[in-house]
């Protein structure tokens, strides 16, 4: 597609950019501003310079929370990508059956986020939870409240239930965009199923997988609602991820430190996005 150079195109961008300016840029500037103040009320606040940042960066708490978030994010990616790609590969090309599978995996995407922990904790309810009864029957002592490994297992399962649809939908959209001639050529060359996957399908869906990867990495790194609902960061802070610590700070009305934390998180998110952009550009060259 050839594109014409014309700076008047900015006029078409203007409405979208204005709305994003109000709901994105202005709050970001405000949060950068608050991060340098000790705020008692919005009328009485004191300049503290980089004190909050020094405090945050100087204590091990931040790195511990970052470590927990990175661990969770890594588990999420390791489970959801092989699974999502496998499902996308298995989806039959027929219109009806294919649509049915896509509709199925899309269902958890429409569940409001605060209801997701409710649904899963219901399954684990000691008196009427189906999953709890199943674990009882096989004699498995599942204790997501006090066993950190079990909390992680539950969180990864819940997150996979919630988001596998996104990975499947994106992988499937990449797969169905591959021209049939590629597969014909592979068949003529006598390529095996595995060879077709590694040498045709995977390279072709890499750009769309990268996008899915970015969305999943950021969203799991910053998981809040579901993690809070399942075990509120417990047991003993084992699942106190980055956003949960920030939420705690906001709820305690520590606006200055909360703003400093927000700034750091935003910079983290922005660096990941920038790395992703570099990877994308290398991909398209």
């Amino acid at each position: 597609m050839t594109q014409r150079a014309d700076n008047r195109a900015w006029l078409l961008m203007l409405p979208a950019m204005s709305v994003l300016g109000i709901v994105g840029l202005v709050p970001l500037i405000a949060v950068f501003n608050y991060a340098f103040f000790d705020i008692f009320t919005l009328q009485s606040r004191f300049w503290v310079g980089t004190e909050w940042f020094a405090e945050l960066v100087g204590t091990p708490d931040l790195y511990a929370a970052l470590g927990r978030s990175v661990l969770f994010s890594a588990l999420v990616v390791l489970v959801q990508f092989p699974l999502g790609i496998a499902i996308a590969l298995m989806i039959p090309r027929g219109r009806l059956a294919g649509s049915l599978v896509l509709m199925l995996v899309a269902v958890p995407l429409v569940v409001p986020w605060n209801l997701i922990p409710m649904i899963w904790l219901n399954l684990l309810h000691p008196t009427y939870g189906t999953l709890a009864q199943l674990f009882d029957a096989i004699g498995f002592d599942f204790d997501y409240k006090f066993n950190a490994v079990h909390t992680y297992a539950l969180l990864v399962t819940v997150d996979t239930w919630h988001w596998i649809g996104l990975v499947v939908i994106l992988a499937y959209s990449g797969l169905s965009a591959i021209p049939p001639s590629y597969f014909q050529a592979a068949r003529i060359d006598g390529a095996s199923r595995a060879q077709v996957f590694w040498h045709i399908q995977l390279p072709k869906i890499r750009p769309v997988l990268l996008m899915a990867l970015l969305l999943r990495v950021i969203d799991s790194l910053m998981i809040y609602v579901e993690a809070f609902g399942i075990n509120a960061g417990g047991p003993m802070g084992a699942t106190a991820f980055l956003s949960l610590e920030l939420g705690e700070e906001i709820n305690a009305f520590n606006y200055g430190p909360a703003a400093a934390r927000s700034v750091l998180y935003f910079l983290l998110v922005l660096s990941v996005a920038w790395l992703f952009r570099v990877a994308m550009q290398r991909e398209t060259q």
Binding site: T2, Q3, A5, M13, P112, N114, L123, S176, I218, I250
Partner: protein, 264 residues
Amino acid sequence: MTVRGLLRALAFLALAVFIIGPLVQAIVLSLTVTLPHPGVSVGDWSLVNYRNIFASPALVASLGNSLTYVTANVMLTLVVALPAAYALSRYRFVGDRHVFLLLLAFRITPPVVLSLPIFLLFARLGLLNSPFGIALVHCLFNIPIAIWILESFISAVPRAFDETAFLDGHSLPRFFVGHLLPVIAPGVGVACFFCFIFSWVEVVFARILTSTGGKPITMAIDALFTFQTDIGLVMAMMVLSLVPGVALIWFVRNHIARGFQLRA
């Protein structure tokens, strides 16, 4: 049936159980009496939970609030995203590559990070406890998504199509509404779908902007948890909250996976 076909059927069965299973218990509970109500006893099958939803003005109002802000958000998002997607698809202009990173940054900024300044800003603008405040703030992540989806659908339309319309003397707004929209209708559907669900499921902004009134369905459900929670009522509300999303999935079923081609 071949062994491979059988294995594949089993795999999809397992997937269906994993996805639908957790919802089945919620649906069963929503149809069960879990607290004593007049005329029924605990443990019975009954529609009493659904009747109780429509008997409660607060719960009915929350449904209205949710539908209002989601609809307003989808309309606002589409109106501003369509010209932007067109510009990104058809033109090169100063800074166009940076727009991509900017959109990405807004899409992935966690709501928790912005919740405090958004609250203060919207308090000053008088947008607290109003569905339109939520509709506006959800544009933060929905505009980037809508631009991304619409751009890929517009790029699939040949340029000659635009030029014919302009030669016929159509202005840009008339071209958008009369010519472009009908051609990319599936893309508009997919964009509507994703904007609708991402607005419908979001709770961090929705919570902080409705602390004293105008509660959406998600917050109304949170408020049902008391020292003696009617879990059947909670689950009935949950089932109801899934209806619009599932209905939309049905409408976009044939196009849901189209339109995620990328341009970095």
